[in-house]
């Protein structure tokens, strides 16, 4: 309980941190103190416009993590219906779905992501961008979990207890709801655990490439993009703070998964 609770608290705090823990407005510019090393006023230094890094990092945590969480939810929601239907009913539906997922898996994921991003307008307000990004990430990530679910449902529907229930006259909907979907929960949870860090990174990569959440809204990816300037990279070490934050989240998340999987297999 304790370690898991602490890690979850961290993620929750990061999500709520905006405005509560941040000492400054993330967009507030102190032009006369650009690129200042960490000091007592600016705990993590300032960037090229003299904006407080710590405040941007805290606000960015909300954007990045919310985006990844939303994308995970979207991907799983998109995967559940076609995956279970294809596995349960088979036939033409199954064939169509499998070919559809192959279409998504035929491209390297970053190319797919950029191509999907290319179909949507680029210059949008930050809130819309957040929505668009989560939708794009989710739409790109649904194929693998859908295939997994389909395979699982395919094997589940022929299990004895499902066949027995069917023999008692249970409807398809009842079978799916009571006997099959609960059995897929652990797989869905594992998939969520795998997708979330991938989406955190994907958001960072997209924003780093300038296709994600843009200025002035801070996300970890857009903050990282200042590191593409070699001078910034070599001379202002505190600009690497978002990279450290990303690493911390990855580490904590992996740790969380290890802890939870141990605790569930123990009981």
């Amino acid at each position: 309980m304790t370690i898991r609770a602490w890690i979850l608290m961290f993620f929750l705090a990061a999500l709520l941190a905006s405005g509560r823990f941040a000492p400054f407005d993330p967009a507030e510019q102190h032009r006369d103190s650009a690129f200042q090393a960490p000091s007592r006023t600016y705990l993590l230094g300032t960037d090229q416009y003299g904006r407080d890094q710590l405040s941007r990092l805290l606000h960015g945590a909300r954007l990045s993590l919310v985006c990844a969480a939303a994308a995970t939810a979207i991907a799983l929601a998109l995967a559940i219906l076609p995956g279970t239907m294809a596995g349960f009913y088979g036939g033409l539906l199954d064939e169509l779905l499998m070919r559809g997922t192959e279409l998504f898996l035929a491209l390297p994921w970053l190319y797919l992501l950029l191509a999907a991003r290319a179909t949507l307008p680029l210059n949008l307000p930050p809130e819309t961008t957040l929505l668009v990004l989560s939708a794009v990430l989710g739409a790109v990530g649904w194929a693998r979990p859908a295939r997994l679910l389909r395979g699982l449902v395919l094997s589940l529907k022929d299990r004895d207890f499902v066949q027995a229930a069917r023999g008692f006259g249970a409807s398809d909907w009842y079978l799916l709801r009571v006997h099959i979907l609960p059995q897929t929960m652990s797989v869905l949870k594992t998939q969520a655990g795998l997708l979330f860090p991938q989406f955190v990174l994907a958001e960072a990569v997209l924003s780093l490439l300038g296709l994600g959440i843009g200025e002035p809204a801070p996300s970890w990816g857009s903050m990282l993009s200042s590191l593409r300037d070699l001078q910034v990279l070599t001379e202002y070490w505190w600009m690497g703070a978002p990279a450290a934050a990303l690493l911390l989240v990855m580490f904590l998340w992996n740790f969380l998964i290890v802890v939870t999987s141990d605790s569930t297999s123990g009981t």
Binding site: A106, A115, P121, A243, L247, M250
Partner: protein, 301 residues
């Protein structure tokens, strides 16, 4: 053999065709095209834009446009890039060559490092060196490309190696990302085979250790590793996009990014199709290798 290959090729071709239809539709149904920004510019007359759209064939029905595009694409003509005003194929070819160069060199380096190291670390399993190497591997695995690349750039800039430029740094960055994963797989598959009865039998016959490892166990463990070659091609290409952009390697990645930013639909389509073909070719190669390496597959097909 020919039938096996033909079926694989047909499958890949159908997939590519489907990818092209989907991408074409999405790109053309998407709001906004390259001339949107020109339309906002008051010094460009609407008639000029009309004429330009007509010249690029943007005012025809979508099915007609796809048919036109597909017929040309089959002969290697990917249309005209709107942003560059030159044939997309001429832009794509050198970039594609560079990406291929980068990824094949990375593949070679990664496999040449990971195979012997993985075999060796499986053979001394549970020793402290093995533990150390898997610990190092795990921690490298936890560092994503987005962070690895700036770190490497920083190290290179500090030590003055950055002036070397060229292919060295991107290859190192890509290898650092792909190597630990491959190492783990090699070690795991080797360990799996090490427990098989035939290994015990061979050891009982007094087969020397080196020969046992590389002549008996490694071929038996090759199957999943070859499949991995095809499966990992996708992530390698993806990492290579990011690394190319960050290190300024003139591959498909920077071109793609530019094309996406400029709403340059022909170029985006070209890059998407090329990347899908690269992945398809990698999978075909893996299938062929599997066919060559595993007598069981030869017999069933």
């Amino acid at each position: 053999m020919v039938r096996y290959l033909a079926r694989r090729c047909l499958h890949a071709f159908l997939l590519l065709a489907a990818v092209s239809v989907a991408t074409f539709l999405l790109l053309n149904l998407a709001p906004g095209d390259y001339f949107d920004e020109a339309r906002l510019n008051p010094s460009i007359a609407p008639q000029t834009i009309q004429a330009l759209r007509h010249a690029h064939g943007l005012d025809a029905a979508i099915a007609v446009r796809y048919a036109r595009w597909a017929r040309a694409a089959l002969t290697g003509d990917f249309g005209t890039s709107v942003a560059y005003g030159m044939p997309a194929a001429r832009l794509l070819l050198p970039r594609c060559r560079n990406t291929l160069l980068l990824t094949t060199v990375t593949l070679l380096v990664t496999w040449c490092l990971a195979l012997p190291l993985g075999v060796w670390s499986a053979s001394i399993r549970r020793g402290w060196l093995d533990r150390l190497s898997s610990l190092a591997g795990t921690s490298m695995l936890a560092v994503p490309d987005v962070i690895l690349a700036p770190l490497l750039l920083l190290a290179a800039a500090r030590s003055g190696w950055l002036s070397l430029g060229g292919i060295l740094l991107p290859v190192v960055a890509l290898t650092a990302g792909a190597f630990p994963i491959l190492l783990r797989h090699v070690r795991a598959t080797m360990l799996e085979v090490l427990g098989e009865p035939f290994v015990l039998a061979a050891r009982g016959f007094g087969v020397p250790r080196q020969r046992l490892l590389f002549h008996h166990i490694l071929p038996a463990a090759a199957n999943p590793l070859i499949s991995l070659l095809g499966l990992s091609a996708g992530s390698l290409l993806s990492s290579s996009l990011l690394i190319e952009v960050l290190f300024g390697w003139p591959g498909l990645g920077p071109l793609f990014l530019e094309a996406v930013g400029a709403h340059d639909a022909p170029l985006v389509l070209g890059v998407v199709l090329l990347s899908a073909s690269l992945l398809a070719i990698a999978n075909l190669l893996a299938d062929l290798l599997l066919y060559a390496a595993d007598p069981r597959i030869r017999r069933t097909s």
